[in-house]
Symmetry: C2
Subunit: 162 residues, 2 copies
C-alpha cells in the first residue's frame, strides 16, 4: 500500500493550483488548466479516491488565536518500548498546545511542535506535560523565530520533455 500514483500534467497542474487555494472552483481550474470543468471534477475525484488528496484543511494564524509563541520540543522517552510509547504519543497528541508529533531516528525520539500563548505558558507545558512524566527522560526546547512554508508538494524528477 501507499504505492506511488501515476500523474499526468493535468493532474499535476490541478494539484499545484489546489495546494495554493483548495477552494478554487472547477470552472476556474478548467480555465487555467485548459480542460472542461467536468474533467476537473473527474480528475479531482479520482485523486481523492487514489489517496493522493487526503483532505482540505484550514490554515489558521496561531498568533491571532492567542498562541503567538511556537516551539519544538525534542523528547527522549526511556525505556523506548511500545507499551510506553503508544500512550505517550496519544497523551501528547491530546494536549491542546500540540500541533504535530514526529517520531524520529536519532537520540531524540520525538519532536513535538507546540503553539503556546507566551513563555510562562511554555514553561507550564514543558513542566506539566513533559518533564513531570516518568517515561520522559529528557526534553530540549527550541523556540521558533520564524517559519516558512515551501512550494507545492509534487512528485520527484518532473518528466523532462526532450
Amino acid at each position: 500500500m501507499a504505492d506511488s500514483v501515476v500523474l499526468d500534467p493535468v493532474d499535476l497542474h490541478l494539484l499545484r493550483l489546489l495546494q495554493n487555494d483548495a477552494r478554487t472552483t472547477y470552472r476556474d481550474l478548467a480555465d487555467q488548466v485548459g480542460v472542461a470543468p467536468s474533467t476537473c471534477l473527474d480528475r479531482v475525484t479520482r485523486l481523492r479516491r487514489a489517496g493522493v488528496i487526503l483532505g482540505h484543511r484550514l490554515e489558521l494564524d496561531p498568533a491571532r488565536l492567542g498562541r503567538g509563541l511556537q516551539a519544538l520540543l525534542s523528547v527522549q522517552v526511556r525505556p523506548h518500548r511500545r507499551e510506553l510509547v503508544g500512550p505517550f504519543v496519544e497523551r501528547i497528541r491530546a494536549l491542546p498546545e500540540s500541533r504535530t508529533v514526529f517520531h524520529l531516528t536519532g537520540p531524540d525520539d520525538y519532536l513535538v511542535h507546540v503553539a503556546v500563548a507566551d513563555m510562562a505558558d511554555l514553561q507550564r507545558l514543558v513542566l506539566d506535560g513533559f518533564t513531570s512524566r516518568p517515561e520522559v527522560a529528557r526534553v530540549e526546547t527550541r523556540l521558533i523565530f520564524q517559519q516558512w512554508d515551501c512550494g507545492p508538494l509534487l512528485p520527484p524528477s518532473p518528466p523532462a520533455t526532450p
Copy 2:
C-alpha cells in the same frame, strides 16, 4: 500587528468544524452550529479578514506522490549574518524537496522538513543542496518514522463556565 482576536463560541465552533473539513458547506455548518447559513458565511468572511483564517490548503499524501521518505535536517549556517541567511532561506524554500523551514533558537539555526523519494534521493539532496554550500557549516539528518497531526488549533484556556 498579529494581535489576538476575540472569538465567541460560534466562531470557535466554526473553526473547529472547518479545521476538520474545510469544505463543509455553510448549510451544514449552520445545522451543526445552530445559526443561519448566511451568518456562517458572514462569520467566516470576517475571520478571513481578521487574519485568523489564512487559507484553505489541500492535504496530500507524500507517499502517493513518490515521496515516501521524509526527514528533518538541522542546519548550522555560519557566519549567521543577514546577507547570508536571507538568500540561504530563499534557496532552501525553492527546493522541490522542502516542505517547511524553521528558524530556531539554539545551536542548530534552521530545521528543514523535506520529503524525498528514497535514501539515495535524500543523500543527493543533503550533499548537493546543503553540505556543498559554503555558508552551511553542519547538517544533521534525522529520518521521520511517523508523523501525527494533533487536534484543532484553538485559543488557550477556553472560557471556564462555572
